[in-house]
Symmetry: C2
Subunit: 381 residues, 2 copies
Amino acid sequence: MTAAKSVYVRPLDFKHGRVEMSHGSGGRASAQLIATLFAAAFDNDYLRQGNDGAVLPMPPAGSRLVISTDGHVVSPLFFAGGDIGSLAVNGTVNDLSMMGATPLWLSAGFILEEGLPLADLQRIVHSMARAALAAGVLIVTGDTKVVERGKGDGVYITTTGVGYVTTHALAPQNPLSPSPSPVNGRGEDVAPASGEFCVSPAGDRARAGDVILLSGTLGDHGMAIMSQRAGLQFESEITSDSAALHNLVATMLATGADIRVMRDPTRGGLASALNEIAQQSGVGMVLEEAQIPVKKSVAAACEFLGLDPLNVANEGKLVAICALSDAARLLSAMRAHPLARDAAIIGEVIADAACFVQMQTKLGGRRMVDQLHGEPLPRIC
Amino acid sequence: MTAAKSVYVRPLDFKHGRVEMSHGSGGRASAQLIATLFAAAFDNDYLRQGNDGAVLPMPPAGSRLVISTDGHVVSPLFFAGGDIGSLAVNGTVNDLSMMGATPLWLSAGFILEEGLPLADLQRIVHSMARAALAAGVLIVTGDTKVVERGKGDGVYITTTGVGYVTTHALAPQNPLSPSPSPVNGRGEDVAPASGEFCVSPAGDRARAGDVILLSGTLGDHGMAIMSQRAGLQFESEITSDSAALHNLVATMLATGADIRVMRDPTRGGLASALNEIAQQSGVGMVLEEAQIPVKKSVAAACEFLGLDPLNVANEGKLVAICALSDAARLLSAMRAHPLARDAAIIGEVIADAACFVQMQTKLGGRRMVDQLHGEPLPRIC
């Protein structure tokens, strides 16, 4: 038996063991945790390179890179319909998808708290691996740090996603929304062939007359977390909608509809997402309350806790804004997809220099849909 | 004054203010923190896109993407020679550089603890901006979460770096080190033109007869942190070596030397780095203690605390392994660079199936250079 092979004297105890400071040391204990848990669960050619990063093939010629990052600090770590692991994968896959990108690779940075049961960590890592497999992405590189008991909360996971959007050999349709400047970080020209441009959906592309579509019911994720955290029992269990939306997005893009904006209404809910878009695009919006789908159980829980479903986080929904002429076609494509069966047209974009988002209520009045200052539900994702 | 413009009623108080839970809410308080601190400090075209990610030009044709991620949890946040902000930028720039990559872009995920003084956060963010500028990289996207008092430790920063390595129209020189498999995450073929391959340094490329070079003194970062944490006073202040090494690496690569492996000996120190490389490459190593540069003050501090400089973290040093025939040329190029004035040849690679790293001591004996189980200095980076 060589030294190289006898390095791991005592196997990790995934039943009763806990995360120790040594697991973040960069020494043997770190190497053991990485080899027997992370590398085993996420196994792929790039991760197997075993260096401090991954060397990857370049996405197809003529495309643009898309990068997005998200920290995940959800509490509790496990909830009805998901856990921090699947959330960390789906959340970043969705951020890429909202920009019209095809997600390819993820990096994962773990900050573990001393004392976290290894069984919990294993469950989270396996959940990430399953979510990545389902979303067709590979976790190609990662990092693990450990902080002392009381300096963390079990585990925080920061995922960064890399994907690509295809460019098209067309003149830009919207001069207000230029494609990114064709230089890299060092100022070198790395532009695609002249005349190409990139039509990925972006927050500044909404125009008066456009239609606002929502892919399904609001508030499921936030109220699942909240009811679990508060120990509330509702008639029917509320389940998080945590899901990867890349496939739904591909279906939507395949219709050829001119989708100006896509966004996943996570933290801050639909209200934050729409207010941000209204300001980025310099437009107003009017929503129809009667058209906004909310599950009965979620509506009841919101009422009980004094929350507006429009302010509550979602993790498997998207809002899309498209040209009026494409809306019916887009809606029917969405409804044919399992993740958007309850999709609905919920309002329209109007000209409004004040960038107000308003709502036509069920009672016939109009109210402002305002972005909150804070968040009624901290650490929701 | 429109609503869009009156959103930020009270400006952030960067003198006496503190991070609040609402700053992580996804509502107005989040938007204000992002706009007035992060976006202002990191300002660039991609960040200004204002979406949940960045659309970027593709690196030069014929290159490969390189991605690396690192969480930073160093304590204290500010130390002699640096802070968590510059460390988070330099650490990830260095991980890319060690793979022979040209770093282009960074993402930054912040996990803030409620109560962190905004003045501290501002100082950290400005330090990151300066470090990014110095390293020629852009921070193109980010994320901010806030956790309750006692669930964090001021701030944790996870940075992910994206860069590229150039491929060469040559047959591979080392059949043991294949270039990465030419498929993307979806199994599609995205290989560069046939015959190209990628010669980035990698941990499995060391061979018996190769020479081991170190760019400078060992242990500066770890002992700077440690002496500050323990409130120790040494005769001369020990300063962290935190620095971005991409420029030194470019100088080294420009010599044309066949650099088989590069690694920055951070957590776990030189001992961990060399043991890992020895095992990846299936070789042994013999170091010459007398050739390993250690500052007097660092050596004294290590002796006082019972630590071996070979186990102590560095944040601005690299170890390189190259062919014997290239070593003199590489060493002289390194010594001409301000970040490697003390560079030295510290040992050689030998054939050894047991993958032992040994050291010829100053006293004439030989001892094993072992990777520790844990780390004498937790949360060093």
